[in-house]
């Protein structure tokens, strides 16, 4: 409990006594490259396969001849946009970006690089962490848009190759009863997840004390705590926004 309290205090320090804005622009750009571009491959790969699996499994479970085949595409579409692309991608990103943030900050802490910033009079938490948080909040939604698109594409490829649905039926299903709010919902979730992952991981890394072992432990708890926060926030947001 006290750790949750200090997490919120920590959030406060990010925005207090910042450096010049121009300093942040370059840093944010760098972080966008490493967080965003660096994660394209893994997010793409995971989502293509998730889309493919969703399509084939749905087809396998839909044995009732009265249910039209295009329903398969509709299910792939909605589950990808609403849940799989945002939540699953963010779980993957918690593993990749979260552990990276925690170990980078943890290493900087134990090698006194954080202290070096502080003695120069620089607010180390905002200097080091704010660019990562902003870059995550900017890049994760882009990754998730790509992820949803690729998941649906993965479903298309797998469905047509496996012969469970024709291309025409799939496209019809994608267009059937489409609610644009699903995308908005996915993006809202993603922004919240991005903020949670980046700040929780930063909190874990920034507060390391000890040595390399503790950095490893912080990196692990960054990932586990982020995942817990993601599923909890997912549930809350779904309750709030979809009911």
């Amino acid at each position: 409990m006290s750790r949750i309290g200090s997490y919120f205090l920590f959030l406060g320090t990010l925005f207090r006594n910042r450096e010049k804005l121009s300093v942040y622009l370059g840093l944010i750009l760098n972080e966008c490259t490493s967080i965003g571009v660096g994660s394209i491959f893994i997010v793409a790969l995971v989502n293509i396969f998730i889309g493919a699996v969703t399509c084939v499994q749905t087809a396998y479970n839909l044995t009732n001849p009265f249910v039209p085949k295009y329903i398969i595409a509709l299910i792939v579409r909605d589950s990808s946009i609403l849940e799989l692309a945002p939540t699953l991608s963010c779980i993957v990103l918690a593993g990749k970006v979260g552990s990276n943030i925690a170990s980078e900050l943890g290493t900087m802490r134990i090698t006194e690089q954080v202290d070096a910033l502080e003695v120069m009079g620089i607010n180390s938490s905002s200097y080091l962490i704010l660019p990562k948080v902003i870059a995550s909040v900017l890049m994760f939604p882009l990754l998730v848009i790509m992820a949803a698109f690729l998941a649906i594409l993965g479903g298309y490829i797998a469905g047509t190759l496996a012969g469970v649905i024709s291309a025409e039926e799939y496209v019809n299903g994608l267009r059937f009863d489409y609610k644009p709010f699903g995308v908005v919902f996915a993006l809202i979730k993603t922004v919240v997840f991005a903020f949670l992952i980046s700040t929780i991981s930063a909190f874990q890394g920034y507060n390391v004390s000890g040595g390399a072992l503790e950095v490893g432990a912080a990196s692990t708890s960054a990932v586990t705590n982020s995942c817990i926060a993601i599923v909890a926030a997912d549930f809350v947001l779904t309750q709030l926004l979809l009911t």
Partner: protein
């Protein structure tokens, strides 16, 4: 001139510093010596504002650092240079970027002024050709030099070094010590060096403060170090001598 008054610090119920007083003069290399775990680093961190002491004052030329407001503290910090025990170079930046970092963050100088000043400091520590290398590519002794260059790039009035010799071979140690001592004389800096290295004590120490279990047992001129009459200090010196004898 730095004055410290009655600095105490406890972690939990374990008292690490028990009321330390002292003063450090400009142009002098003052040493803080003592066995490991006696609170030397904690004292240094209290002085530079990384740890808040429980009680006490730190005065930089009369300015009370701990009770100053944020802007005053920033102004005093700009006059400080710190060489950390592990050099604390930013490992995502090149050597030159490390040295010019304080200029980037804290001054409005032009690009060419910054590069010139950073190069000048690298030249001062004998590394004018290493600017493009990454910290991971250079030796421990070179890292310390880069750390010194970064610490002096803003022309500090106060320089702090935490165990500048740790992890270095004896010859490199002596060179780093000499560099610190020369820079101190050259720019009339108030320099505080933590060490447990006897070589350093004899070579560069002008004023020496001896800490033992969180207490200051002795402070004085280095020439009177062996005549202190303090048992713990004599033991500390003898232990060091013994190690040096064995190394020979």
């Amino acid at each position: 001139m730095i004055d410290i008054k009655n600095i105490t610090k406890s972690f939990g119920d374990r008292q690490v510093l028990a009321g330390i007083d002292g003063s450090f003069k400009p142009g002098d290399t003052s040493l803080i010596i003592g066995g490991s775990g006696t609170g030397k680093s904690v004292l240094l961190k209290c002085m530079i504002g990384l740890i808040a002491p429980d009680t006490g004052e730190v005065l930089y030329d009369g300015r009370n650092f701990l009770t100053s407001d944020l802007n005053e503290q920033k102004a005093i910090r700009r006059e400080m240079g710190v060489l950390f025990q592990g050099s604390a170079l930013f490992d995502s930046k090149t050597v030159l970027e490390n040295v010019r970092f304080p200029l980037d963050m804290l001054t409005e100088q032009s690009e060419s002024e910054k590069v010139d000043r950073a190069q000048e400091c690298l030249r001062r520590v004998g590394l004018e050709n290493a600017g493009d290398r990454m910290p991971s590519e250079i030796s421990g002794g070179m890292k310390k030099r880069v750390g010194i260059a970064r610490a002096i790039v803003l022309n500090p009035k106060y320089l702090f070094c935490d165990e500048p010799n740790s992890g270095l071979d004896p010859l490199t140690s002596i060179k780093i010590d000499q560099l610190i001592s020369e820079i101190t004389d050259e720019y009339q800096i108030t320099t505080v060096v933590i060490t447990h290295d006897m070589n350093s004590m004899m070579e560069i120490g002008e004023q020496i403060m001896f800490l033992y279990e969180g207490k200051k047992l002795w402070q004085g001129d280095s020439s009177t170090l062996t005549k202190s009459g303090v048992n713990e200090l004599n033991e500390f010196i003898n232990a060091n001598k013994l190690i040096r004898e064995m190394e020979k």
